[in-house]
Symmetry: none
Subunit: 256 residues, 2 copies
């Protein structure tokens, strides 16, 4: 990795970049993944590069849904594997979920690289190499899913995912939890629970919450979900952004 | 370069991406530059991929400042060189400014590549290979500036620049003009004049304005600058973004 001075005020964000770059060099991340990372950075800037309370609440709903699920699957792409490999493995252990590598720009070679990468990091099982063309309505490479993974899942956690595919998962009856910094994206719009947060903050928080919420009675988890409305939440996210921009503008304009 | 159909709705943006990727293949752009490009794309998308009137006004202020400057320098990094090499050369001729290659991830080899690239394109002089460690408060590679360039300048035009360095330029008494699509960036905050626009639109517009404004009396140029307040302008940019996002939210969600 390139040297990033520790005293750099945007050290965290630059280190994320380094992880993505490392992933690119290892063949885990594609060039488009570099551009996507930049896009995420822009939205993270807009929300202030922190987990906002609304996102934390959506995380709790998501964790409740995962804990109640019969067959949860975490769908992992190149950027997710590069940014939060250990965190994905930890989360999968705590909520007892399968991990499946699922790529927008799929090649067998890249699937294999990511599977190996996650296994080296300690994942016991990583799906994605075996597949059926299980998602209709997508071009052939993109409809592939593992018959022991996403095809069988009731709840799928996706992150940094393409809108087409998220919509397709909904069409085949999955409940979808999405981590996506852009509340306007089709992924955020299509998901049952949208977490507007950076995966590097959201997944560690999901792990913490899952540890605590595992001990709660099922009834309480169900209540958490039943009160939730994702469209309302997206509206709240957008109001949050609006207010943040207003405050930021005021702050700038009142101290010339 | 990859083939992009001319009638593609995002032709301009895709061609920019191709230029950056080309620059990456030629060793002018670092991988981090691909991520920066992605970030810029997202902000450009948010403002509607056009030069907004507020940015055009800031461009006029910037041009006035450059025309009044005794020793203006255009600081060029890899992405700038890849995106707008000819435009930078033209602008430097019209406003009689030095060009200096100044890199965040500096290697002698990459400085030389960019210097050569700009000279092949017709630049008479490109500084940056000779240097002193002229900017205090930065780690050693990043404090290097050319004694005939930035060190001596009264006004420095930076684009797609790192916040640390922009702040450091201010500390050593330079007036800084920044082209940066992110109004929240430390570069935008630190600069005397922040142009929230894509360099591929802003520099050509600066050239046009400089041609016209060169003929204006100095008093008029001075007036243009004296009425300007950059913090207020940043506030106005952010309000503009807020309104764009509100409209987007309404369109997508028929949101009240």
């Amino acid at each position: 990795m390139e040297y990033v001075p520790r005293d750099h005020p945007r050290y965290r964000s630059l280190m994320e970049r380094e992880k993505i770059i490392e992933g690119f060099k290892n063949g885990i991340v594609v060039i488009n993944g570099l551009i996507s990372q930049g896009r995420g950075e822009a939205f993270d800037y807009i929300i202030g590069e922190k987990t906002i309370p609304l996102a934390e609440d959506s995380i709790e709903v998501a964790v409740a849904m995962l804990l109640l699920s019969n067959y949860p699957v975490i769908s992992v792409n190149g950027n997710a594997a590069a940014l939060v490999p250990d965190e994905i493995i930890n989360l999968s252990n705590i909520i007892d979920a399968k991990i499946e590598v699922n790529l927008f720009y799929r090649t067998e070679e890249r699937v294999k690289k990511i599977v190996d990468f996650l296994k080296e990091r300690g994942a016991k099982e990583v799906l994605g190499l075996e597949y059926v063309e299980g998602i209709p309505g997508l071009s052939s490479e993109r409809r592939k899913v593992d018959p022991r993974g996403i095809l069988k899942a009731d709840v799928v956690l996706v992150m940094l995912e393409d809108g087409d595919r998220t919509e397709a998962l909904k069409k085949i009856g999955k409940r979808v939890i999405a981590i996506d910094l852009n509340p306007f994206s089709r992924t955020s719009m299509a998901a049952d629970v949208s977490i507007m947060d950076n995966v590097t903050r959201a997944i560690p928080l999901m792990i913490d919450k899952a540890r605590i919420m595992k001990k709660l009675p099922k009834e309480e988890l169900k209540k958490k979900i039943s009160n939730y409305n994702n469209r309302r939440r997206l509206g709240e996210y957008i109001i949050y952004i609006k207010e943040r921009l207003e405050n930021e503008a005021k702050r700038l304009m009142s101290f010339p």
